[in-house]
């Protein structure tokens, strides 16, 4: 992908999710196959998926809160990613327990504290 696109931070989670979906699809298709080479392929894909899970788990502590502003600054998604998560967990996006509201607040805090401080703007009181 990096050969054809400038890889930005918003591709991280999207890339991981696409790979997980692809591997899940392959494993579902191969689950009941008895042929030896298909069995080997299932074993291999399963191992790769486990390795990808380890990478994914290690990714969040490395990037931390940076991924939240990245996803919000994606003009084609904005807060839609988090609303999708809320919908998946059957939570009202306006609730305090939702992903959308705290992440929106966190983004505003990020802009105010990190960016304004970096450019030495006085915080708004």
């Amino acid at each position: 992908m990096s050969k054809r696109h400038s890889v930005t931070l918003d591709y991280i989670i999207t890339g991981y999710n696409d790979m997980f979906h692809h591997m899940d699809g392959v494993m579902r298709a191969l689950a009941k196959k008895k042929t030896q080479w298909k069995d080997h392929l299932y074993f291999t894909v399963n191992l790769v998926r486990q390795k990808l899970s380890i990478y994914y788990t290690e990714e969040t502590p490395m990037t931390g809160m940076l991924l939240i502003p990245v996803h919000i600054l994606d003009p084609f998604w904005k807060l839609r990613s988090f609303r999708k998560w809320d919908k998946g967990m059957d939570i009202n996006p306006k609730d305090e327990t939702s992903y959308t509201t705290p992440y929106q607040v966190a983004f505003l805090k990020y802009v105010e504290n990190e960016h304004c401080a970096k450019h030495r703007y006085l915080p708004v009181t």
């Binding site: 992908m1 054809r4 930005t8 931070l9 990478y55 600054l73 998604w77 904005k78 970096k118 006085l122």
Partner: protein, 148 residues
């Protein structure tokens, strides 16, 4: 034997300093109301951005300046996997519109971080070295156990 900073008066790197100059930098005293206005404008722009609906990729694609570019890669244009480039969108907004003001600077700061440190991206790069584009079958020696 080296002495500790407290035992010697020689302190070339100012280790014994209490660091007050870092806790209260000079620039705080120099901030002006104009800078406060900048922060307020930035927050207003952020709220406008958050309250506006997400951009539709097909509409933006029509005004993509690179879309009909003679020198652009035809594979990228015709590919069904075409993804709108966020950095281009922000650049275009910065140059043509001023809707989101300094939020473009925030976007530039964040999207200029190159995620090549992500392990899976590193894995892909390594994989392309092992299995080049024209090789579909890796040699068996790659998978044999070294202890055998």
């Amino acid at each position: 034997m080296a002495s500790s900073p407290g035992q010697s008066g020689y302190d070339p790197y100012n280790w014994s300093s209490d660091g007050k100059e870092y806790l209260m930098p000079d620039n705080v005293a120099k901030t002006t109301p104009e800078r406060s206005d900048c922060a307020a404008r930035l927050l207003t722009a952020t709220r406008i951005y958050l309250n506006s609906p997400p951009e539709l990729p097909q509409y933006w694609g029509q005004i993509n300046p690179n879309y009909n570019d003679y020198h652009s890669n035809t594979v990228d244009i015709s590919s069904t996997l075409w993804l709108p480039d966020i950095t281009d969108w922000w650049l275009q907004h910065e140059e043509m519109y001023s809707t989101y003001g300094n939020l473009c600077d925030v976007a530039r700061d964040i999207f200029s971080i190159i995620p090549h440190g992500v392990r899976v991206e590193g894995g892909f790069s390594l994989g392309r070295d092992v299995i080049p584009w024209r090789q579909s079958k890796p040699p068996a020696r790659l998978f044999t156990n070294r202890s055998q």
